[in-house]
Symmetry: C2
Amino acid sequence: MKEINIPKTTINRLSLYLKCFIELSESKINFISSSELANFIGLNPAQVRKDLSYFGKFGRRGLGYNVEILRHKISEILGTQKLWKVAIIGIGNLGRALLTYAGFKDRGFKIVAGFDNAPDKIGWEIDGIKIYSIEELEKIIKKEKIELIILTTPKSAVQEIINRLKNINVKGILNFAGKYLLADEKLKIRNVDISLELEQLTFFISNRNFYKRR
Amino acid sequence: MKEINIPKTTINRLSLYLKCFIELSESKINFISSSELANFIGLNPAQVRKDLSYFGKFGRRGLGYNVEILRHKISEILGTQKLWKVAIIGIGNLGRALLTYAGFKDRGFKIVAGFDNAPDKIGWEIDGIKIYSIEELEKIIKKEKIELIILTTPKSAVQEIINRLKNINVKGILNFAGKYLLADEKLKIRNVDISLELEQLTFFISNRNFYKRR
DNA sequence: GACTGTGAAGCCATTCACAGCT
DNA sequence: AGCTGTGAATGGCTTCACAGTC
């Protein structure tokens, strides 16, 4: 892979392209042009071409992009050709919902364990996924070679868990726990906040007349 | 409000500032400087000052920003001083989890209804929130003056629901349904895709050596 | 004829650097 | 002395426009 200056925004869109290519592939469509792709996602066609061109020359002039090839290629770039093992920490309502979330399967993620500290939850098995005591965190993560964590605990539990995760070989955290966390060199973190998403909607709704963009 | 050119990125950060100000307010801290705030979020202090300055002069030189005033002000800018009524369409695992999600209360959102088409779910009441048949969508939304929707149905149900929502007074949709939707003038949409969030993590993990930024 | 790949231009966002206030 | 508010400089991203290929 080229080592130079790929815009962050391009990486974000890569996931959207992948999603399109998966759908196109399921619809047995073989080729697609940058402008059709751009239409689906709401972008400028030149944007699509430039984005894809950072990683190689995948298109065929006069014809467009080969769906199967790009589906495979983008998945490779995003690192999801391999299967990532994921654990969910915090088996409340949201944790339980994500434990059985169907959307992970064909995107390269597999939930292999859940953790909680409520005695009545420990030992459960939901859809074949075992719930362990949080005391066993390090042990199970090592044993199962888990690299990604989905964090769905209450705010108050976050700091201790992060400290423990930093000492083992966990590489990334998807954080729903309501406490904004900063990533570092060793541990990538993405914060997801559902109220924040709603606020972004209400801003654009409330300021529609003043703020024309997007 | 000023009508000119506020960067989209600033609006995104506004929610993060708000979150900080809420926490600071709960910790009884009265003033905070741009550089402390920048540290919490992982930004440059000048960024913080510029962001806030788009909306007025809220700081006091030599002292920083008044936490209570900014908490109130940013919430006003984001449009969450008023209480927004929200309905959840699709009462599967995720819909049910969001129905009882505690994080909405103090951010200006109230879930007031759920919708599903499974006969065994209709008529339920979860945490005081009634589940209606999807046939009653228009009727209940009008009656309850619901303006925001959280969409947690299967992909296959999305298009019909969107068509119906466009005919009534719904203003925004937070879309978890796995089908990427484009917003338009009348209806703002934000797409949330949990696999996509994980993919963004795996990209930066897999390409750590080549891609130094962020 | 249709569509990609890409320098160059244009636009937008971030950061610097400092004047101005408390 | 400490910190904001902001023009100006820099840096990054998007779009244009067209040569090149099928």
